[in-house]
Symmetry: D2
Subunit: 276 residues, 4 copies
């Protein structure tokens, strides 16, 4: 069991009546429990909380009149991950995958697995199947790319990233997801909090479906998979932006943190970790 304190604050200059969707609260899964959660809006607002879809992504919707808006979120998260030895984790056969997982084999906006299928297959098609194959994909992505803030934008796709060889966490995740799908492994994007992330920010990482469950991977190597807290999952970053707005507002400040509470767990990079 691991305890992680997480939180973030956001400040907006809201210029017209604006509808915000926030995805900043830690998700609820059998392996991730959330305690002492506080979400406060200043000024006080009528916030609608909901949980959406099969994945249960949490969402906070709010209508805001022109003002200086502050949002504060914090929580204690208790993780009881399934931790397995990587070499015991194989791949699921398409004939055995739960139907709701199959959608994560389809191409999506930023993960054009249809375009990169042959590429993926030629690079990774002949590797031994299982956790190690996804790890090999993530290692390859790590080696191919240079982590370069500002080198990509909100419309950058996995194919773009493969060509230009630079990106940030979102791009690393998109490329790894695309290559997984390309060899027939369901994969999805996870937004979340990461302990000790430098520079501090929300993080984007990867879940791949292996042996009947979703395992965590971080191709940026910026965080240990034992220190990742899930906000939400989706096909790619389009689905789990921390904030989506209709109206006019400017983000003035963003602070994000995540720390191990009390005692550090034995962060073991070599483990297969599942919290979904």
């Amino acid at each position: 069991m691991t305890e992680i304190s997480i939180g973030s604050t956001l400040e907006y200059d809201v210029r017209t009546t604006t509808i915000f969707l926030f995805k900043i609260a830690a998700g609820w899964t059998p392996h991730q429990r959330v305690h002492n959660e506080q979400l406060t809006f200043d000024p006080l607002l009528d916030v609608e909380a909901c949980q959406v879809g099969a994945e249960g992504n949490r969402l906070h919707r709010v209508v805001v009149e022109p003002c200086q808006l502050s949002i504060q979120y914090q929580a204690q998260v208790e993780l009881t991950p399934d931790i397995d030895s990587p070499n015991t984790v194989g791949e699921s056969r398409p004939a055995d995958m739960p139907p709701e997982v199959l959608t994560y084999m389809n191409p999506s906006r930023y993960c054009e697995s249809d375009l990169l299928g042959r590429f993926a297959f030629e690079e990774f098609g002949n590797l031994p199947r299982g956790f190690s194959r996804v790890q090999a994909i993530c290692d390859w992505v790590y080696k191919q790319l240079d982590y370069t803030p500002g080198s990509t934008n909100a419309t950058t796709t996995a194919a773009d990233v493969l060509l230009q060889r630079t990106g940030v966490c979102r791009d690393y995740a998109h490329l790894a997801i695309t290559l997984c799908r390309g060899v027939g492994i369901p994969a999805r994007y996870v937004s979340g909090y990461a302990v000790n992330l430098q520079p501090p920010d929300y993080h984007g990482f990867v879940e791949a479906f292996l042996d009947g469950q979703w395992y965590l991977f971080d191709p940026t190597r910026l965080a240990s998979t034992t220190g990742l807290v899930r906000i939400g999952v989706g096909r790619d970053a389009a689905d789990v932006a921390f904030s989506t707005l209709t109206g006019s507002a400017v983000l003035k400040q963003k602070n994000v943190w995540a720390n191990f509470a009390d005692t550090h767990p034995n962060a073991n990079h070599a483990s297969a970790v599942s919290i979904s």
Copy 2:
């Protein structure tokens, strides 16, 4: 109430052990009931039927050894659509949309509404809100494009289509969906059967979310919205391919039909029709 007889036959030359996912059976919705349904595989196979996700898309999964595979599907579909007068149908405000609808505002693989948002907004942002705005988008798509079989392929996106000005039903739908999302109207892709479609084939069309429900649109004008039967819905064609396969098999033949049973309904092109 409308009755439509639908059916399709597929023949494959299966060369290695292959896993097929078929999405050819009519969906179950409050407005679409399915009777006398028959799905037969020759040779006889162990078929797994499932229903997936919030949208309840039906799926048939089967593992096939090398053989000549024939699939026959037929059913009677009873439609009791909500039919409204177009000028009474307004738009939903983002603050009021059911959360599960919001995902259909996100860009997807073939509908890059992030790239085309400004384009959509400049062309259609100032039109009166409601059914007529989606109709205006569909009319524009119809006028911009030439229906040209063979001019696009499985990787063609809405942006490609807007530039090249040709496409088939799938492309018309993708472009209309993208422009709807671009002005803030949730929209999704529907695969289905269409009465009197020429040439006969599975069809691809559009649902836009207006006034709290999903209304049908066909920007190709190849079919009346009162003669459309839904197989499944998704973000775009990536989600509802009639067949997805892992292995090696070649489609040798495909026949698709859809006819009004007994009596023709008064197909009124000017109606707002909802079957979801």
Copy 3:
């Protein structure tokens, strides 16, 4: 006859031995004469001046050791443009065009006239042929796009611009060129100086080949075609970057100016102007 004073200063922080190619000097054409030209480098350097290709673009090449590099260029330019009445200027037939002009019908890096040929033809294919058709294309580009500094970068193409609807002078020019080529009119990119450009900078505009000569167009409407001085021409901006460098150097400052000497000419926006 028009006299224009032009000039620019550039300052670089040169970090390693760097080879620079500068394209900042006014070109020599029968209609554009250059007087009192000064190009000075500080520190003093061995500068190689050359004139390249059929178009005679001028180029200054220099090898620079690490230093603070200042370049100053200034000149008096005497323009004796061919000025015609637009409605007397027709199009050239492909059978009659000089062979060296034909290359400006080919697609180029930022002007994908192959992709946009159908688009161009459907929008502009039926307009009366001649100067007015190119003017119609430039007017359309002007209306479609919003001039938005920072909205594009060095890899943005005409197709990108058409979709995103924003750009700067370079993008306006690329889109107009592409659409001209798409309807069979040779068109090329001109880099140059523009009188009274706001904000001051090098400018990018268009030449279209009509009735046997190259006429100037500026789809941004930021400058009168009677106040344009040509540096060089190319297929698109790739060919006439003001500076190309191999090595490592950072541009610290850039100042550009262009003014009518003595007397203002009667800048008549409605004229067909040729200086090539």
Copy 4:
């Protein structure tokens, strides 16, 4: 000295008055002489022959009324290539390259060296400079791609090819050219005839500028560089299409051949060959 017999026949169904530009005649260079050349059109037509640009590409232009058009071309070509030992051929420094060569460092329509610059540099930036580096690029392209007729079309670019991993001679050449430019080596597209090409067709290959001259490379490995005859050169295939037409005509048949006359030369794959 090598003698090669070349020829091609083309048949068109010309439906409206059509202007053709043909680029099918062997080019004239100091190392490539053309004898006994015959170019015949049936029906008899007034053919305009020209030679264009610094590269002297030959062009035949003809205006054709509706008819069945046959073109026959044949010639004897005498090659006296410069043949060097690869390991004596180094790279030219940008400071020393003839100015007219610099244009072949720029990105072009199908060779987006700006997009792939970083990719090229990371893969090939640290290799020893010289002929062997271009050879390494061509070897890499050969290994990455599968030669698959029909997998690409007239709008496919080097970036597309790198992602999809299939292509034909044109695509192999584009990718190799792009990677050369990406590491600072001028490179261009050559259209031509190739002895013993299977299946017989016009061929597309590469020239890279090394040590002051243009050397031949064929990344498809379908032909020996000692059996290549140049028609024309350009930035990419956009510049040297064998036929460009304005009007309406359908190519009904195409035959192309190239054979060593008399005696086979010692085709030595390991030589550095220049015919420009």
